[in-house]
């Protein structure tokens, strides 16, 4: 298939693996930030092809994984209401809150719908004026423009029965939080290509400078990732720490300026809680005063309750690259994709689920 097979060519992959082997002289730890990259790495068995000295750790870039428990509980409360049609991307439905999940709410009679775009939720709002339509606006900078556009359209069309439950988080503050942690072991980053397609690459140069760490903006196909790793280890071996763009077929330095303009109009930067990591300053988005009327938390008067995560779960350490899924005592035992304890086991992009599905260690 065009635009896919070229990036999964086994011969080209072999050449990149060879080039990486010839470049590496010592052990390097590289973090791929985005969950989509984690998914591709495990789905295509990329780690197995790499020399042992190149260690990939899986970053916090899975929106399903980092959405805090308290926010999931808010979604569950809203979705259970009789007057609400609750709309969400598909894989949020299995994420456990502190008591239940959206699939169970649906089984108990809640109107919970899977959508591919928040703009469909705006249409549902127009078609159902006697219902409250709520879209669960999760994700990074990648999903934000469509969510911003949905709110903008709802305001333009004066749809007073539409709102979004905002749980948007940002990549650069998460990278900074990882780099500034005293026990950080990440030496190079594969930055999330699609985030940069929207936001551009400008935010990363100060990070590369301040923390002396190479950052390679990388795509999602196997060859993208192998080339990204190659560019990263070359910088590491050369002692350089620059921002490079592997994914130049999709990413321009300035990003998508129209999307950015809309984002600035609809969202403002706020501190956000990350599941498993905790609060990170200036790491998320909330609606600006102009669009506050579309904030589901305000509309449904939800208190800002905090909830404790299950004690056995180490997903926070996994998200920061400090532990591997198999290091967790619950991994594959109490915690499986059917009964996830932590968010990283829930999403197909989560490191634990990806390991369980594709790389499960043989039972001892």
């Amino acid at each position: 298939m065009k635009y896919v097979d070229e990036f999964r060519d086994p011969e080209a992959a072999r050449k990149y693996v060879q080039a990486i082997r010839e470049t590496v002289t010592r052990h390097w730890t590289i973090m791929e930030v985005c969950g989509g990259q984690t998914h591709a790495i495990v789905r295509f068995g990329i780690q197995d092809l790499l020399p042992e000295d190149v260690e990939l750790v899986h970053g916090p870039g899975c929106p399903v994984c980092v959405t805090p428990l308290a926010m999931i509980d808010k979604a569950l409360d809203i979705a259970a209401r009789d007057d609400v049609i609750f709309c969400s991307f598909g894989d949020m439905l299995r994420v456990p809150g502190s008591r239940t999940d959206l699939l169970s709410v649906r089984a108990e009679g809640g109107d919970v719908r899977i959508l591919y775009t928040p703009l469909d939720a705006v249409k549902i709002a127009a078609d159902n004026p006697d219902k409250q339509i709520v879209f669960f606006a999760v994700g990074f900078e990648t999903t934000a423009p469509a969510n911003a556009m949905a709110v903008h359209m709802a305001k333009f069309r004066r749809l007073e029965n539409f709102s979004i439950l905002v749980s948007h988080v940002l990549v650069p503050p998460a990278i900074e939080a990882i780099l500034s942690a005293p026990d950080n072991r990440v030496q190079g980053f594969l930055a999330a290509g699609h985030v940069c397609t929207v936001m551009g690459t400008g935010a990363y140069a100060p990070l590369a400078d301040r923390y002396d760490v190479p950052i390679v903006v990388t795509g999602f196909e196997p060859l993208d990732i192998l080339q990204g790793i190659y560019m990263c280890v070359r910088q590491l071996e050369d002692g350089r720490a620059a921002v490079e763009n592997q994914y130049d077929r999709a990413v321009r330095d300035g990003g998508n300026t129209q999307a950015q303009a809309l984002l600035r109009k609809v969202f403002r930067v706020v501190p956000r809680e990350w599941r498993g990591i905790g609060e990170i300053a200036e790491s998320g988005w909330a609606l600006t005063p102009e669009y506050e009327g579309f904030d589901a938390e305000q509309r449904f008067g939800l208190a800002n309750a905090k909830v404790a995560a299950p004690a056995a779960c180490i997903s926070g350490l996994v998200l920061q690259g400090l532990k591997k899924p198999a290091d967790c005592p619950a991994f594959g035992k109490e915690c499986t994709p059917d009964h996830p304890l932590g968010a990283t086991m829930v999403s197909g992009e989560g490191a634990c689920a990806a390991y369980f599905r594709y790389r499960r260690e043989k039972a001892a």
Partner: protein, 349 residues
Amino acid sequence: MKEAGAIEPTCPLPLNEHPRIRLAHGGGGRLMQQLIEEVFIAAFDNPVLRGGHDGAVLELLHGRSVMTTDSYVVRPLFFPGGDIGALAVNGTVNDLAMCGAKPLFLTASFILEEGLETETLWRVVRSMRVAADAAGVSIVTGDTKVVERGHGDGIYINTAGVGRIEHEVLVAPERITTGDAILVSGDIGRHGLAVLGEREGLAFVTSIESDCAPLWDAVHAMLSGGTDIHCMRDATRGGLCAVLNELAKGSSLQFDVVERDIPVSEGVRGACEVLGLDALQVACEGRFVAIVAKKDEERALDILKTRNETASVIGRVTDGEGGLVTIQTPIGGQRILDMPTGELLPRIC
């Protein structure tokens, strides 16, 4: 027996009188009688059904017979390449075929929702007759219930089937052995995406047609061609991935498959890429996995290819870890192919 093509294209019930199903159509009285005679008997017409008993009296020869049942629930009722009626016939016919049995008779039970357009019911029933003729089975008895509006999705159908085993080959997971070839009878994932595309109104998948089809003909050709089939299973819910895992567990052997050899059409691949789905987990309704003795691999493939040129040998049974399925990725890596969790939930980005 009427030829399928001779069935009235429009519903023979006096539509002006009853354009929609009422509760009374399941109530045991005159309306139900009219529905049975003018819709079900008119469409399924055969001597056993015309006998008019509470049950079907069948002539079964001595030997091994197979019985199976399945219920069919699908929204929307009509989708590219099929409908709930074709599904209800082919699904049960295929379960018989996977046991190595020639499908002979089906029952058909309908749970109709009050308010269903009678014309819709007629289209479904007509499609069942066409599918039954194609599969060589007769629908010999049935039942109808009507539930109140809002308590059903239009039509639910249950079919049970009886088939006869006419050969000596034992087809069962315990016959799977190290070295066996793993074949798939055609490209996978069409049915699930055709239904999803129609239900969600996804314009870019509308070119994908369901693979809904009877499988007995291909199975029969392999058996009568002397192929030593060790086991078969049709890939329905959970797709190819679920079948491989079930059979690996059932045989306590390891299955190693090669992703590049698994046939997936361009349309299905593209839609899966866009939607964040894994084609290996998407449902089929007319594809099966055959585990055949190594010596018969070529012969089995040749026969399957005469029915569907995309049929392929996708891997081999090994004596590694019992119940494990591994897949070689397109770039040469290897990973475990685990049992799907059950819901196909598209990934966010």
